[in-house]
């Protein structure tokens, strides 16, 4: 029990930090600026990150108490996700502390919402049960809905929050419906029990319905085409650091949860032979997502919208990693490229949005390429970091983005269960299209004369945020050994998947009783 609580410390610390700063805000002097709450949040998240690092170093832990083990799995897969989410949350918070006052929306709740959103994401990636995953998803989503509309005096922010809320609720409906079908087919929502059931029984029609529902639900969350319509509007209207959190954190969490659900619960051979195999669907979704995202990004005039479409196209590349992955022994995820790519993508996009935050002063509805003109002459360091992020998103060495693409493509080419060569070719062509609009940002920053004096936010923590992100992106791209080792470790999945199944069968799950029969 005590050992389990120690092992759950990343989640517990994040929860306590969220509650603590919520109270700190209301008990603090209301006239005081809220900056210090942001710093407290950063310190708390750093402690949680340290705890995650300790657990990751031990190679993943097994929760001994059955009531914890049925709900959560702390395998290296989950811990890798924890670390990534915490880093993204820390960078987002640092980028926000001086951004909020400049937007006249400095309320202390912002920081606790960021922390609670991270908690939800962490629960999602560590979930061993579909219900736990759903709870995590809701904790995350509700916090993000509020954060999306945080600049409540701006009509764009209201639009962003409403769109995100309605579409998010719609997607959640699909998820719940799929979940109900999973329960109906197997009598359980535990991923391992579901996997065991489908290993013995043919999923049949249930399988098709479940796969369709789940793909729609996750498609919305990862913004895969054709479920991507909300993304540009929401990213544009949200505060820029929050757009970074959505692109870097929410998407990472959704992808890891998707990988876990599909590879663990629906990873069996019978699901491959269904009339609608999820792997085939993701194959075509990946092609659509990459192509549509890239082509629409080319024609954007607004940098935030361009980054939104770029994040859509990146969802396509990450889907290749999912298609190439294969569950081994029920639960393990083969293909470490997926993890490396997620790391590279998350840090590059959160960094890029942190740089974009600099440009927002007194309303930021108009972050066009034109406003970036001459940016490099006034903000050399920020422009340099932006170059690194753009290079990483475009996949140019020596950045992490290049290596991530390389690893995902090699995973895909090495896959034996499916011929993924056409998919990789489409992805390579798309990467080349992407270079055009990423380079456009660099061209405007360095080679155009500034049109007019454009006010920017000068903030040290913001600089630390994108500086750190750029440093990690370059280091992971140039000296990738450690990160590749971590990704490989994360990809080995749960070392103790079998024990988790036995733990699930030990706990006394009350059978559904038909009370109406009385």
């Amino acid at each position: 029990m005590a050992a389990d609580l120690a092992h759950l410390s990343p989640l517990l610390i994040v929860c306590c930090v969220g509650l603590g700063i919520l109270l700190l805000d209301v008990f603090a002097d209301p006239k005081q600026p809220k900056t210090f709450i942001g710093y407290v949040a950063v310190v708390g998240l750093l402690v949680a990150l340290a705890a995650t690092g300790w657990l990751f170093a031990t190679g993943g832990v097994l929760l001994t108490q059955p009531y914890f083990a049925v709900a959560l799995t702390l395998d290296p897969f989950a811990l890798f996700g924890f670390a990534l989410i915490l880093v993204v949350a820390i960078l987002t918070t640092l980028a926000s502390v001086h951004y909020l006052p400049s937007q006249r929306c400095e309320w202390g709740e912002y920081y606790s919402l960021v922390v609670f959103a991270s908690l939800g994401m962490m629960v999602m990636v560590a979930a061993a049960d579909l219900i736990t995953m759903f709870v995590g998803l809701e904790i995350m989503s509700v916090a993000i809905y509020v954060l999306a509309g945080f600049k409540r005096q701006s009509p764009f922010a209201i639009e962003a929050a409403m769109k995100y809320f309605f579409l998010g609720a719609f997607a959640t409906g699909f998820l719940l419906y799929g979940l109900a079908f999973v329960y109906g087919a197997t009598g359980s929502t535990n991923l391992n029990v579901v996997a065991e059931h489908f290993a013995k029984n043919d999923p049949g029609l249930y399988g098709i319905v479940i796969v369709i529902m789940m793909i729609v639900a996750f498609g919305f969350k990862i913004a895969a085409v054709p479920f991507h319509m909300w993304t540009p509007d929401v990213y544009e209207g949200s505060p820029s650091p929050i757009a970074g959190l959505m692109a870097g954190g929410v998407k990472t969490a959704a992808f890891l949860a998707l990988a876990r659900v599909f590879l663990t619960a629906f990873g069996g051979a019978d699901f491959e032979n269904l009339a609608i195999s999820w792997r085939e669907v993701f194959y075509w979704l990946a092609i659509l997502t990459m192509t549509v995202g890239n082509i629409l990004a080319v024609v954007q005039q607004n940098v935030k919208r361009m980054l939104a479409y770029s994040s859509i196209s990146h969802a396509g590349y990450i889907l290749i990693g999912i298609v190439a992955s294969r569950s081994v022994d029920g639960g393990a995820v083969a293909g470490s490229g997926l993890f490396f790519y997620l790391l590279a993508y998350a840090l590059s996009s959160v960094g890029a949005f942190a740089v974009v935050s600099m440009l927002g002063k007194d309303g930021e509805e108009d972050i066009t390429y034109g406003n970036l003109a001459g940016f490099a002459y006034r903000h050399g360091f920020a422009a340099l970091c932006m170059v690194i992020f753009m290079a990483s998103l475009a996949g140019i060495p020596p950045t992490a983005g290049f290596l991530g693409k390389y690893l995902v493509f090699t995973d895909a080419l090495a896959a034996t269960h499916m011929n993924l060569l056409p998919l990789v070719l489409v992805a390579v062509v798309n990467s080349m299209i992407g270079v055009y609009y990423y380079l456009k940002v660099i061209v405007f920053m360095y080679m155009r004369e500034p049109r007019r004096e454009f006010e920017t936010i000068r903030s040290v923590p913001m600089g630390i945020a994108f500086g750190l992100a750029a440093l990690v992106v370059v280091v992971c791209g140039s000296f990738p050994d450690t990160t590749i080792r971590w990704s490989a470790k994360a990809a080995t999945g749960n070392p103790s998947a079998d024990s988790a199944i036995s733990a699930a069968s030990v706990i006394d799950v009350p059978a559904p009783v038909a009370t109406t029969a009385k």
């Binding site: 029990m1 509650l19 919520l22 109270l23 209301v26 008990f27 108490q65 009531y67 109906g184 009598g187 059978a511 559904p512 009783v513 038909a514 109406t516 029969a517």
Partner: protein, 127 residues
């Protein structure tokens, strides 16, 4: 079909009967009920009571806040009932009893923190 699914069939039958009963009553009423429409019959209070003002007024947004708080703390009670029902069953396992006890009080504790937040934020005051 699993046994657990068969147990839900009565629910489906119940649903069908309820829908048929309600739908039938509404339809029959619509088809058979006598209708003599005039101004007095169409007034909101058929008894002749005069309407004080139109209901299409704007309400203070503060009612919304009160409504939200009501739901939040009502949900708390909703969670307490199944917990209380199952608690005796959980007591049989001494290792789990404390967890079952602690978990609910942790939940109540977090909710009370929420109440503290709401109070300090001034959301409980009408003005």
């Amino acid at each position: 079909m699993l046994d657990s699914q068969i147990e839900y069939i009565p629910v489906l039958i119940m649903l069908a009967i309820c829908s048929a009963a309600i739908g039938g009553m509404l339809t029959l009423n619509f088809l058979l009920g006598p209708k003599r429409k005039n101004a007095i019959k169409n007034a909101p209070f058929e008894s002749g009571e005069k309407q004080i003002h139109s209901p299409k007024r704007r309400f203070s947004v503060k009612f919304y806040l009160v409504g939200i708080f009501f739901i939040v703390f009502d949900i708390e009670a909703v969670f307490l009932f199944p917990w209380a029902t199952l608690y005796r069953q959980w007591l049989r396992d001494p290792a789990f009893a404390w967890v079952a006890f602690g978990e609910m009080f942790l939940f109540l504790g977090i909710l009370s923190l929420g109440l503290v937040y709401v109070w300090r934020r001034g959301a409980l005051e009408w003005d």
